[in-house]
């Protein structure tokens, strides 16, 4: 069963097209990443999924229903926003007990969810006294009070330090494994998503450019990719692109991901040191087929742009 189905979803703000004819479906028991740069349309998509924004065109169904002003759906979804907002002057445990009463669950669940996110020691603190990391953990606890089947989280780790990010992702993994909760996680911090997601939707300029489980996407976009690690990535990229059998090359701060024509890998391994020598670049390593999620993202986007 699809938890979320979006078809032809579009939203514009004035002249800016935020989401453009977007299609997406999310299966139960999955952890799906919605990845893309800032301004790609992730938050707008999520807001339409949550019924906070009305699409200009297209439709979105969550658990088979229109999410706009639909209380029934809210009993099945937990929501975590980039910045968590709660009534600031209420204490964490007291507020979660209120949320328990809202959803009609036992108030003992409030402490359970605080313990799940290791916030039991902050149960007597006012919400405004929580640090950014604690507040996001509290937001996750808040989203889990009613044991939702699906948690939708928009950039939930964006403002956190690496340790807090790692802790939150551990919580996501644990909840998925132990409580069978499906997640839709949007993020522009890709390495962290590769830890938890089994499928990703690559979103750019308001459209889904690639969607599928990670292994399928790696097979589709990253097989045959050669990774060149160098101290002069952009200069070497220009030289590599001049090679006739190179189909694509993308550089980043650490190196270059290169796709070459079938059967030309050996030739590439011979040519690259020569090119590096020519521009006085230092080659730190060359290896085949080890793309990160960031590289996968770039490869999928550049493959789409070439079409």
């Amino acid at each position: 069963m699809s938890l979320i189905v979006a078809e032809g979803l579009s939203k514009t703000y004035g002249r800016v097209v935020a989401v453009d004819n977007l299609n997406l479906s999310l299966d139960e028991d999955s952890v799906t990443g919605l990845i893309g740069p800032n301004g790609a349309g992730k938050t707008t998509t999520i807001k339409m999924i949550l019924g906070l924004l009305k699409p200009d065109k297209g439709m979105v169904k969550v658990f088979g229903q229109d999410p706009w002003d639909n209380p029934a759906i809210r009993s099945m979804i937990g929501v975590v926003y980039e910045k968590a907002f709660f009534p600031a002057h209420q204490k964490t445990l007291e507020y979660l007990q209120r949320v328990c009463r809202i959803f009609g669950v036992s108030e003992s669940r409030a402490m359970e969810v605080l313990e799940m996110v290791n916030l039991q020691d902050a149960s007597d603190r006012e919400i405004r006294a929580l640090s950014a990391g604690m507040l996001q953990k509290f937001a996750i606890a808040h989203a889990l009070v009613h044991s939702p089947k699906l948690v939708v989280a928009d950039e939930m780790t964006a403002n956190l330090d690496p340790q807090a990010r790692s802790e939150l992702l551990d919580i996501v993994l644990q909840l998925h494994k132990e409580e069978n909760v499906a997640f839709l996680l949007s993020s522009h911090i890709l390495p962290e998503l590769s830890r938890v997601c089994d499928s990703v939707a690559i979103i750019n300029r308001g459209k889904v450019w690639a969607f599928g489980n990670l292994s399928e996407l790696y097979e589709k976009y990253a097989i045959g990719i050669i990774r060149v690690t160098t101290d002069s990535a952009s200069e070497l990229e220009s030289e590599i692109k001049k090679l006739k059998y190179v189909e694509d090359a993308e550089s980043d701060i650490r190196g270059i991901s290169v796709r070459v024509a079938d059967g030309k890998e050996d030739k590439f391994y011979e040519d690259v040191p020569k090119l590096a020598k020519k521009i006085k670049a230092k080659i730190l390593g060359i290896e085949t087929g080890s793309a990160s999620l960031e590289e996968l993202y770039r490869l999928a986007v550049s493959a789409k742009e070439r079409k």
Binding site: K47, L50, G51, L52, L53, K54, D69, P71, A72, R74, S75, I77, G78, V79, Y81, K83, F85, F86, P87, A88, H89, Q90, Y95, R98, V99, R101, I102, F103, G104, V105, S106, R109, H142, A143, V145, H146, S147
Partner: protein, 275 residues
């Protein structure tokens, strides 16, 4: 899985809104000011009303005394009440929209109109109960002989005086929903409130010079305290001596306008508000 029974989302959102709107020291401070203002002014006002009021053509002497008694204790506490409800709408609802707390409320199993009703009950309803409760109690304690037989006059006077502040509250609601922040709507609310006394004075001067009540009649449609004042002792008796039915009509019309403005707010919040 957690067993899910029947929740009480409306009551809990209301309780949460009251917790935020009336947290210390607002409730205590405003309750004290209401009470102090009401009782201090009542002790003078009720006596003055009883002694100094001549019966008017359209109202009985007892009605006029009751009207004057209410009117004399109303102004200061009403101003405090208005500040409180404006603060609640601008900074309660406005900051909830601005900071995103409304988004959190939208994750609860409650229709949008339920969320707005809870917010408005907290911002307006609780303040109104507090205001009327203290005022009417004070009047009853200080002048039961005047107030008890004239309860309908007392209630009508409150209704006529409250409709314009409620209209401003409705306009502030629309502005707050549109702008998603409370600061500007608070300023506009206060300007509209103070503008009424200027507009009222201009309308009265215009009515006197033109010897036509038209300007005051128009004003009465949004602020029926104007027609009520004429009914119970206005100085324009030569060309405008409204009947009681007219007072009821203007008061009714003003509340229809208030209801329309709030209905617009509800429609916008339920159907149009994108977050």
């Amino acid at each position: 899985m957690t067993d899910m029974g029947k929740g009480k989302p409306f009551l809990e959102v209301l309780a949460s809104a009251i917790h935020e709107d009336y947290r210390f020291p607002f409730l205590e401070l405003f309750a004290f000011l209401y009470a102090a203002g009401t009782f201090v002014f009542a002790s003078f006002g009720v006596n003055i009303a009883a002694i100094g009021t001549a019966p008017q053509a359209m109202a009985t002497a007892n009605e006029t005394i009751a009207y004057n008694a209410v009117n004399s204790i109303l102004s200061m506490p009403l101003f405090i009440f208005i500040i409180l409800i404006f603060k609640n709408i601008a900074y309660g609802l406005g900051s909830d929209l601005e900071k995103g707390i409304v988004q959190t409320y939208f994750s609860y199993p409650l229709k949008r109109y339920g969320i707005l009703t809870a917010k408005l009950l907290s911002a307006l309803g609780v303040a109104l109960l507090l205001f009327l409760g203290i005022q009417i109690s004070a009047l009853y304690v200080l002048a039961p002989d005047i107030i008890v037989p004239q309860l309908s006059t007392v209630l009508l006077t409150y209704a006529a005086n409250l409709s314009y502040p409620l209209l401003i509250a409705g306009i502030m609601l629309l502005i707050t929903l549109q702008l998603r922040r409370g600061g500007i709507s608070l300023v506009i609310g206060l300007v509209l409130y103070f503008a009424m006394s200027i507009v009222s004075a201009i309308a009265t001067v215009f009515a006197i010079f033109s010897e036509s009540p038209l300007s005051l009649q128009i004003l009465s449609a949004i602020s029926p305290s104007v027609v009520l004042q004429q009914y119970y002792g206005g100085s324009l008796g030569s060309f405008w001596a409204p009947a009681f039915s007219e007072v009821l009509l203007y008061t009714g019309v003003s509340y229809v306008i208030v209801a329309l403005v709030f209905t617009l707010g509800y429609i916008y919040f339920s159907r149009r508000l994108n977050l």
